[in-house]
Symmetry: D3
Subunit: 296 residues, 6 copies
């Protein structure tokens, strides 16, 4: 957008808002891709508003990280416009997401995708697995999402990780809801499950999680992996789940010990009038960027 006027203004749909250092796409090391996929019939509610609210919230966040003692935004964070949803069939949409993600990854960007439903994750994993040999996936989630088919389609969000397993092994953290069908299928799949009810019994559970990851790592965060106390804004908010400092510690350890190549944050379904969950998502993403780029 170019125009011949000069005045102070923000770019409200940019992650971080009006940051001191705004870089071009080519100069930026981070690319934010909003993918507001959600099969709702109206524009009132649902995960389709997740990306918009995360970006809006991010413009109210400080860019300094007091834990690490650094402000990383200068590496360049470029926010792409939201993908349109041009298809009725999820199958075609999946192909398009894969194509766009592959293009971004081929330009050596750190890709952060904002959902939308969890059904956008398989094509992202597929693109990452093609770009990075030996990729493994860290999934933070309340639900195993290991159904082979649901509601008549293999692309339902309840099948997201079953589809992702076609491209890379998965480590699942915070799991506390699965069907009997999934429970029976899990042992035969290339997935390691850390159940929320028991994983904290080992004080080194974070290290154990990271130990299971191999090669480059893709991180997918279904926000319902966190405690509904801090994340009520999601479709099926399961009691239990990760606290803020648990998820932050897990991400820090993963980034410290592994090469993380891309991530997504999905299933935020904003609650009208309640900003805390949206703001948390914005800070969570900036925490990932801080750990990833501090000192670089």
């Amino acid at each position: 957008m170019s125009f011949p006027l000069d005045y102070e203004h923000s770019a409200p749909m940019t992650f971080g808002g009006a940051m001191p250092t705004m870089k071009s796409f080519d100069e930026s090391r981070v690319v934010i891709l909003p993918v507001p996929v959600d099969r709702t019939t109206s524009y009132v509610s649902g995960t389709r508003n997740g990306p918009r609210e995360i970006l809006e919230a991010s413009s109210h966040m400080e860019l300094w990280d007091e834990e690490v003692g650094v402000d990383v935004h200068g590496v360049g964070i470029f926010t792409l416009p939201a993908m349109e949803l041009p298809f009725g069939e999820m199958g075609e949409l999946v192909g398009e997401i894969r194509r766009v993600a592959a293009d971004i990854l081929s330009r050596e960007k750190f890709l952060v995708t904002l959902g939308g439903e969890h059904s956008i994750t398989p094509p992202l994993v597929s693109a990452a697995a093609a770009a990075f040999k030996g990729l493994s996936v860290l999934q933070i989630d309340a639900h195993a999402d290991l159904r082979d088919c649901y509601m008549g389609t293999p692309h339902n969000h309840a099948c997201a990780m079953r589809r992702s397993l076609e491209f890379a092994p998965v480590t699942q953290v915070g799991i506390r809801s699965m069907s009997t069908e999934e429970a029976e299928a899990a042992p035969g799949l290339n997935t390691k499950i850390f159940y929320d009810a028991t994983m904290r019994k080992d004080p080194n559970w974070i290290d154990r999680v990271v130990d299971t990851l191999s090669g480059p790592v893709y991180i997918t965060i279904d926000v319902d992996g966190m405690d509904p106390a801090i994340m009520p804004a999601t479709g099926t908010p399961e009691p239990g789940g990760l606290s803020w400092y648990e998820i932050v510690a897990l991400l820090r350890a993963t980034i410290a010990r592994k090469t993380v190549v891309a991530c997504d944050v999905v299933e935020l379904s904003p609650l009208p009038g309640m900003m805390a969950p949206n703001f948390l998502c914005a800070k969570l993403i900036y925490k990932i960027l801080t750990y990833q780029f501090a000192g670089k």
Copy 2:
């Protein structure tokens, strides 16, 4: 549901709640069919909650109609359980809705279907047209819904009346939103449009609407046909629209002059904490039943 206990209880998912006269399916002249079709990913919001909230509201409504001076519930109002949504593809679901509706109509019931999205209307019209020769359709709606295809599917709610036209001619009332594509297609279709902006200029507009209807009549009410002042609980609430007394007068005149065989009320997307729109839908349906069965 049978159990060997005896105590006072309501049947909360029954239209009208715990009415003095509860009749069996066979004895009932009216059958309520909830069809909560909505492509949402979670159970929080959307038109999928429409039928539930209409039924809940209906249990708080009085059964006497002070305008006509009658209580018609004794004709028997039987509420079926909500149809499950077993398919990923709208196409298959459409077939199932048609089959169930045809079965009910074949038993000489007055069928009232509760949506859910407007995409459930074409199979209902199809079933009614097969059962009643020469059927015409009265549609109350803000949107023409005449797109041939939308979001990659011919079964989208934006195509509801284009599909319905394959089975019967349609009279559209309250229209105040349509695309350029629809505006161009409309003259070639078997539809008569009463635009909200102009229809009241003729004080006899209601008679003119009824004049366009021929043979038995199916009525489809998209709740957004009404003024958002009284009906804010819908996906795209267009300013303008029918007032309560306008829609009631139109329904009264239609039922008085024509043989109405079935109807649906769709696109209610309940607003959390606001009961008025849900209650209005319940009363609107009972008004239809009152006009239909008073004196019978």
Copy 3:
């Protein structure tokens, strides 16, 4: 409800929704009794909506329990219709609740009652104490509810445990709000109080709680016993309180060491648009059933 049609449908007011195994009342070991008692003047809000929202939420829950590794729903969970509120006087209602509960317990069912106000608990305890010699009560609650009379009636929810003490001794857990009158009366009553502010100082507090229970056990859960972080949907949300894993551990230990005969979950007052508290109640009840019936 019988009807001559065949289609897939759920029973939305059934705990667990459309479960694979639906058993008759006689075959079921568990009976769910909704008692939506609440003195509100309208249908908009309050604890009267608690049972409805718990049942609705329960239909979105998985039936597998990943902690115990079992799906217990096959023992049969039968949901009765909600009790009507036929009386103006709480005194009469109390008698009716007692009668119905006694009938259910006499049929060797595990009774789970859904409130509604806490004032429904005394007749439930009364019925259980009559059926099970030597009964004791485990109460999870923020409030002692030990007033002898409140707002002019001995049946107010603020008197719920004072009334219950007429039938059985009580162990109170999570208490963090009481009046000076109650504080003075407590030492003379047959109750053991575990104050929320201090009970966790003993790492074995759960065992100490269970130690105080004798004979068969009735469990009453006022949802405000939990932390408002996870349970904001209640009338007087007191800061502090049990976390999800604390309440689950307490229930597991109680069921493991004692014979639990019935329970209730009361005082959920749903917040419009926020599903997490409703969903938590549904899962809490299913956790109790899982612990109670796993391996049986």
Copy 4:
């Protein structure tokens, strides 16, 4: 409340807020009495918050009336503190309301009572009828409230006008909901009903309403008498009802032609976050005061 400090402050629980002219009780011609009766179990919601929200809203309203061209607040508007609800039984509460109202009326004040439920009206009418010979009542309401007994008590809000008829004849305006029992009883009662569905057919309907009133007049306004479009904040919001200019015109005509001695506004059940209905109630009351005291 007296204190030895001097600073600018408002009296937020005073009708009109910090008005230029604040008069003592004795000097004031108008007395506002909040009676937040509501049988709810918690403080979250319901008509108990009606008086508080009307007073809060009233402090944001202008004191000039542009229609009449006058600012009447100088006659003195004194707001009493809210009555406590000291009894469990409505019967005792009714006696106390009558006693307090009688005391105020004996001091030649214009009494404006803020509800709370409609069940507070009978004792107010009783006190007014005792003070003013030949009193009649103007009721604006969606519901006839003519049940003889409801939920086991003759003091339920559904019986409010049946009880009031024991003290004075009633004219009912805006009625559009009644039970079969009420419809049968009405002809035998000393009440004239103007049904909402038909009353506007006579362009002189307002004069006809006022014609039915005799002697001094008490006005009771159940806010659900108005259209839910402008008054969604009530327990059972019936479609139809009076518009703002209709209710204002009716009040103006009544005050112009009759001697109005007191009034109440009841059944406002505030919707969280929506100020318009609360504000409307504040302005409605100030309109009554303007018509009553302009030129005096």
Copy 5:
């Protein structure tokens, strides 16, 4: 924003969303300027979110106008980024708004400003009056906004029209709230007031309003000028006010008979979860553009 990827995407902060014809600033005849100033609004707050929600809503609106039978978006509608609020003092901000507006008007654009508070209007009127000799202002509003100073500043929104009068005469429509001070000052000011309570008594009131306007016209719409039934989302929602068809007819007549040069829509304070008011604002603006550019 430029990037080397190709995919379908919308520009969510563009009025009209992803329109078929997107023109550059220079080619566009319409310029949308969001000015989310929110500093002194009272009672309910949040006008800073008004522009964002209007733009979001506008992307869900059809571009065809069925009343006029035209789709005008092809004249080019260019949405500028929102002005930042760089100053603590409203005085400085006022100067900046004037400078930017003057720049846009000098480029022969039809300027549509989205507020924010009404305090942004005076600098917009000032810029328009400088650009167009003999300008007059049409104000649609519940409040006269004629205070000379409020809360210690002459730039408060309660002073918006008093300030605007320094640049052009004003015609005020829908007025139904003013202070005694304003009522006394009004006769001495260059303003014509059409009071909401009385203006409809003349069936030709719209013509009479337009008759008062001279020269080029600036239109300022405070959304609270409309009926709270359709516009509850504003700080002080006064009962009464213009209906949708009244405001649309007034705008149509004004544009038909006068040369309108710019307009603003201010004081939308979105209600969380309720889309209808936001959507109405979007359609209102598009109605203005349709009347302005149809046939051009």
Copy 6:
């Protein structure tokens, strides 16, 4: 307010509501001063409603403290009316707050101020520092609030502690958000920062915090210092933060070891329909009073 009637009533804008012992200003040891200043808060707004909601909530709280085993309200808690906001410029308002606070402190009252924005704290600290030699400040907050100037004013809430440092040294607890500018300035300021991310690593962190305080202590609590799980009702809810038992333990230790002379609770921005955060603030204040006055 005096009036010649006798009936039971509460004083709803009194902290604690209708307490058994109501003392005069002179007799009371505690004075509650509501200061609903809300002018520059960003993102989500409404701190002006904080005092009102805290007072309302406080009337539903029990007066007995079960942890300490005492009911302290008998020392006298006098609630002043809310300060009006008479000025456009924050600078003048600051002077007025200081004057009133100094007056109250000179009367040997324990002053509890209810915000409103954090910008009210500097004049309160200034008054306390003048009254109590050697004062230090304990700040519980998510934000450092150390900016020298923000939005063009030194009185913005983002500058609250930078201003307070002009009067006393500050210890900051729970900090987890600060700008790069603040991070650079902090080492040169007379402040000790306990970062939320790291402070709990020392199990004696509370003692270490108290050790840093010298002389009499003023406590300022920005509610966003607490975890958004229990305190979502604030403008920028930062993840992390103090739990209920952490903040209570910190306050207990501070009061036990130091002489606390006054405190404030600021930045509560109530969420419509959600009472838990308001209720928490009321209990937090009563906890402070209990610790302060138990045994006195």
